[in-house]
C-alpha cells in the first residue's frame, strides 16, 4: 500500500501538468485533453482519500464515477463546439480566434 503522501504528490504533479497544458496549448483539442488530465488528477485524489481514510470507501468511488460520466458528457459537448468553431473560423488555434476582443 502506497503512502497517501506519494499519491498526493503524484496527483499534484498531474494537476499542474494539466494546468500548464491549459495555459500554454494553442490547440483547443490540446486544451481539452489537458482539462481531462486535471479532472483525472482530482479523481485519483478522491480514490486515494476514500481508500486511505477508511470511513466509507464507496462514497469517494461514487464521486469518481459521476465525474467520469460528466467529463465524458462535457467532452462531447466541447468537441462539438470545437467542430463548429473550426467550421466557422477554419482554425482551432486559440490565438487566432479573438472575436471577444474589443
Amino acid at each position: 500500500m502506497l503512502p497517501l503522501s506519494h499519491i498526493l504528490i503524484f496527483t499534484t504533479l498531474l494537476f499542474l501538468i494539466g494546468l500548464y497544458g491549459v495555459l500554454t496549448r494553442r490547440n483547443v483539442v490540446g486544451i481539452l485533453i489537458s482539462i481531462e488530465i486535471m479532472l483525472n488528477a482530482a479523481n485519483i485524489n478522491f480514490v486515494a482519500f476514500s481508500a486511505s481514510l477508511d470511513v466509507s470507501p464507496q462514497i469517494g468511488q461514487v464521486f469518481v464515477i459521476f465525474i467520469i460520466v460528466l467529463a465524458a458528457a462535457t467532452a462531447s459537448v466541447a468537441l462539438a463546439i470545437v467542430l463548429s468553431i473550426y467550421r466557422n473560423q477554419k482554425t482551432i488555434y486559440t490565438d487566432e480566434i479573438d472575436l471577444l476582443k474589443w
Partner: protein, 637 residues
C-alpha cells in the same frame, strides 16, 4: 290620425342622402329616387293636410335647449297655414322634379341636380313645418343655400356663378335683420314658439317699441327672401339657373317663404300697425316697380322673374293691409300659375333653343301643348275670371280697398293692368306672329308636357276654394273667425277692366300693329329707359354700396397686409433669430456636455480595454492568478 308627419321631411332627405352617396352608380335612376321620395312625401303631406281640414292641428316637439328656464324647442306644427304650404310645396315640387327628368336630360351633373332638388324639398318642408323662430331660421338658411347651389348649378358660366353669389349675399343682408329680429323678439317676449304669438301675448306689449322693431327686423328677412324692394335685385339674376329651379325655387316655393313668414307672424304685424304699414308700403312699391320693369324686358325668363317679384309684392301688400287670407290665397294660386309659366318658358327654351323673345314668335303651331297651357297660365295671372288668379287678386284688391288705403288700392289696380299687359305681350311675342328664329322648334317630350297639363288644370280650379262659389271655404279654413267677406262690385269691375285693358293694349301693340311699341318707346323715351334699365338700381348699388364695401374690403386688406401680416412676419423673424441662438447653445453647450461625457468614458476605457486581449490563455492566466490570490489570502489569515 297621421302617425308620422316627420316622414314628410325625412323622405326627401333620404333621397338626398342616397343620391349624394350612390349618385355615381344610380346615374339616370337617381331621378327616380327623387321622384319617388317627393311623391311619397306628397302623399303623407296630403293625408296630414286632410286631417287638418277636419279641424285637427298636429303638433309635436322636443326641447332642444333651455335658456333662463325658457325651453327652446324643435317641433312640427301642421296647422291650416302649414297644411296649405305643404300641399303646394310637395305637389308642385313633385311635378317639377318629374319635369326636370326631361329638361335636364343629358346634363353632366344629372344626379347632383336631383340631389339638390331633394335637399331643397327637405329644407322647404322643414321651414313650413317649423314650430319656432329659431327652427325656421335654420331651414331658412338651408333653402337659401340650396338656392345658391341651384342658381350656380352651371357654374362654368361666369354669369351663373356670379348670380348665385349675388343671391346668397343679398339674402344674407336680409337674414341678418331676421336674426336680429328673432333676438329682439325673444328678448321682448321670452318665447320663440309660433303658437305663443297670439293677441293675449301681444296685448301685454301694446305699443312696445321693442316689438315694433322686432317685427320690422323680422320683415327684413322676408324682404330678402321674397325679393322685395330694395333687396329684389338677386331674383332676376337668379334666372341663370336651370328653368325647373326657377320654377320651383324662384317662383313657386322658396321666394314665397318670406310671405309665409309674415303670414305666420301675422298676429304680430296685426298688433303693430306701424310695422304692417311698412309691409304694405314695401309690398305695393315692389309690386308696381317690378311690373313696370317687366314691361320692356326681352328675356322670357326675366319678364317672369319681374312678374314674380311683382306678385310677391302683391302678397306682401295684402298681408300689410290686414288681408292675411288674401295674401296666402294668392301665394297658393300664384305658385300654380307661376310654376306653370316657368315650366312653359322652360319648354319653349328647350324646344326653340333661345331665350330672347325677339328670336321666337309663331311657336303656337309647333308647340301646341306648351302654347295652350301657357295661355291658361297667362289668363290666370292676368286675372281673367274665373281662373285662379282672378279670385286671389280680387281678394287682395278688396283687402286694400277695405282697409282705406286708397292710394295703395289704385297703385295695385294699375299694377294689375300692367301685369295683364306684359303677360300678354310675352304670350303674343312668343307664340303669335311669324317666326323670327332660325332653329326648328319642336314640342317637348311627354315627361315635360304632362306636368304642364296638370299645372294648367290647377291654375284653372285652384281659385275656386277661395271664391264665393265655394263660400270662401279657403278663407274660413285658414282663419276660423274670419270677417264676413263680400264681393265688392266696384273692385271686381276695376279688376276685370284693368286686365281687359292690358290684354287689349297688348293685342294692339304686338299683333295688330307691331310698329306701335317702337314709336311709343321713342315718344316716352324717359319712361322706357327707366323700365329697360330697371331704374338703374343695380348700377346704383354697384356705384354706392358695393363700391363702398369694396373699398372697405380693400382697406381691411391693406390693414391686414401692413399691420397684421407685418406683425406676424416680425414675430416670425424674431422667432428665427431666437432659434438661431438656441441652436448655437444646443450645438456647443448641450451637445458639448454630452460629447464630453462620451469623450471621458472613451479615453478612460482606452486604457482599461487593453486588458481585454481576446486570447483565452490570458483570461485563464488571470483566473489562475485570482485563485492563487484567494488561496494565499485564506492561508495567511
Amino acid at each position: 290620425m297621421v302617425t308620422h308627419p316627420i316622414l314628410i321631411l325625412l323622405l326627401p332627405f333620404t333621397a338626398f342622402a342616397v343620391i349624394v352617396f350612390f349618385g355615381k352608380w344610380l346615374k339616370e335612376k337617381s331621378a327616380w329616387v327623387a321622384i319617388l321620395a317627393s311623391l311619397a312625401s306628397c302623399a303623407v303631406a296630403l293625408q296630414a293636410a286632410f286631417h287638418v281640414t277636419q279641424g285637427e292641428t298636429l303638433s309635436q316637439s322636443l326641447t332642444w335647449m333651455v335658456i333662463n328656464q325658457i325651453p327652446i324647442e324643435f317641433g312640427i306644427v301642421i296647422d291650416p297655414l302649414a297644411a296649405m304650404m305643404l300641399f303646394v310645396v310637395t305637389f308642385i315640387g313633385s311635378l317639377i322634379i318629374i319635369y326636370s327628368v326631361g329638361y335636364m336630360h343629358g346634363d353632366a351633373r344629372y344626379p347632383r341636380f336631383f340631389a339638390y332638388l331633394s335637399l331643397f324639398m327637405f329644407s322647404m318642408l322643414g321651414l313650413v313645418l317649423s314650430a319656432t323662430l329659431v327652427q325656421i331660421y335654420i331651414f331658412w338658411e338651408l333653402v337659401g343655400l340650396c338656392s345658391y347651389f341651384l342658381i350656380g348649378f352651371w357654374f362654368e358660366k361666369k354669369e351663373a356663378a356670379e348670380a348665385g353669389r349675388k343671391a346668397f349675399i343679398t339674402n344674407r343682408i336680409g337674414d341678418i335683420g331676421f336674426f336680429l329680429g328673432i333676438v329682439t323678439f325673444f328678448y321682448a317676449t321670452g318665447t320663440l314658439r309660433f303658437s305663443d304669438i297670439n293677441s293675449e301675448l301681444l296685448h301685454a306689449h301694446t305699443g312696445s317699441f321693442m316689438l315694433t322693431l322686432s317685427a320690422l327686423l323680422l320683415f327684413c328677412g322676408a324682404v330678402g327672401k321674397s325679393a322685395q324692394f330694395p333687396l329684389h335685385v338677386w331674383l332676376p339674376d337668379a334666372m341663370e339657373g336651370p328653368t325647373p329651379v326657377s320654377a320651383l325655387i324662384h317662383a313657386a316655393t322658396m321666394v314665397a317663404a318670406g310671405v309665409y313668414l309674415v303670414a305666420r307672424l301675422f298676429p304680430l304685424f296685426h298688433g303693430f300697425p306701424e310695422a304692417s304699414q311698412v309691409v304694405a308700403i314695401i309690398g305695393t312699391l315692389t309690386a308696381f316697380m317690378a311690373a313696370f320693369f317687366a314691361l320692356t324686358q326681352m328675356d322670357i325668363k326675366k319678364v317672369l322673374a319681374y312678374s314674380t317679384i311683382s306678385q310677391l309684392g302683391y302678397m306682401m301688400a295684402a298681408l300689410g293691409t290686414g288681408g292675411m287670407t288674401a295674401g296666402t290665397f294668392h301665394l297658393m294660386t300664384h305658385a300654380f300659375f307661376k310654376a306653370l309659366l316657368f315650366l312653359g318658358a322652360g319648354s319653349v327654351i328647350h324646344g326653340s333653343g333661345v331665350q330672347d323673345m325677339r328670336e321666337m314668335g309663331g311657336l303656337r303651331s309647333s308647340m301646341p301643348v306648351t302654347f295652350w297651357t301657357f295661355a291658361i297660365a297667362t289668363l290666370a295671372i292676368a286675372g281673367v275670371p274665373p281662373l285662379a288668379g282672378f279670385w286671389s287678386k280680387d281678394e287682395i284688391l278688396v283687402s286694400a280697398f277695405d282697409s282705406n288705403h286708397r292710394v295703395m288700392f289704385w297703385i295695385l289696380a294699375v299694377t294689375a293692368g300692367m301685369t295683364s299687359f306684359y303677360m300678354f305681350r310675352l304670350l303674343f311675342l312668343t307664340f303669335f306672329g311669324k317666326t323670327r328664329g332660325h332653329g326648328h322648334p319642336h314640342e317637348s317630350p311627354f315627361v315635360m308636357t304632362i306636368p304642364l297639363i296638370i299645372l294648367a288644370l290647377g291654375s284653372i280650379v285652384m281659385g275656386l276654394p277661395g271664391s264665393p262659389l265655394m263660400n270662401h271655404w279657403f278663407q274660413n279654413f285658414l282663419a276660423h273667425h274670419h270677417e264676413a267677406l263680400h264681393m265688392n262690385f266696384f273692385v271686381v269691375t276695376i279688376s276685370i277692366a284693368t286686365s281687359a285693358l292690358g290684354l287689349l293694349t297688348a293685342y294692339i301693340f304686338y299683333v295688330v300693329n307691331p310698329n306701335i311699341p317702337k314709336r311709343f318707346a321713342q315718344k316716352y323715351w324717359f319712361l322706357y329707359a327707366i323700365s329697360k334699365n330697371k331704374l338703374w338700381i343695380d348700377e346704383i348699388y354697384q356705384a354706392t354700396f358695393i363700391r363702398w364695401f369694396k373699398s372697405l374690403a380693400n382697406l381691411s386688406f391693406k390693414f391686414d397686409e401692413t399691420v397684421i401680416d407685418r406683425a406676424v412676419n416680425e414675430a416670425g423673424f424674431k422667432t428665427v433669430l431666437v432659434s438661431r441662438i438656441k441652436n448655437w447653445i444646443d450645438q456647443n453647450i448641450v451637445d458639448g456636455l454630452v460629447n464630453f461625457t462620451g469623450w471621458i468614458t472613451r479615453t478612460a476605457s482606452s486604457v482599461l480595454r487593453l486588458v481585454q486581449t481576446g486570447y483565452i490563455h490570458h483570461y485563464l492566466f488571470f483566473l489562475l492568478l485570482g485563485i492563487l490570490m484567494i488561496v494565499y489570502s485564506t492561508l495567511t489569515s
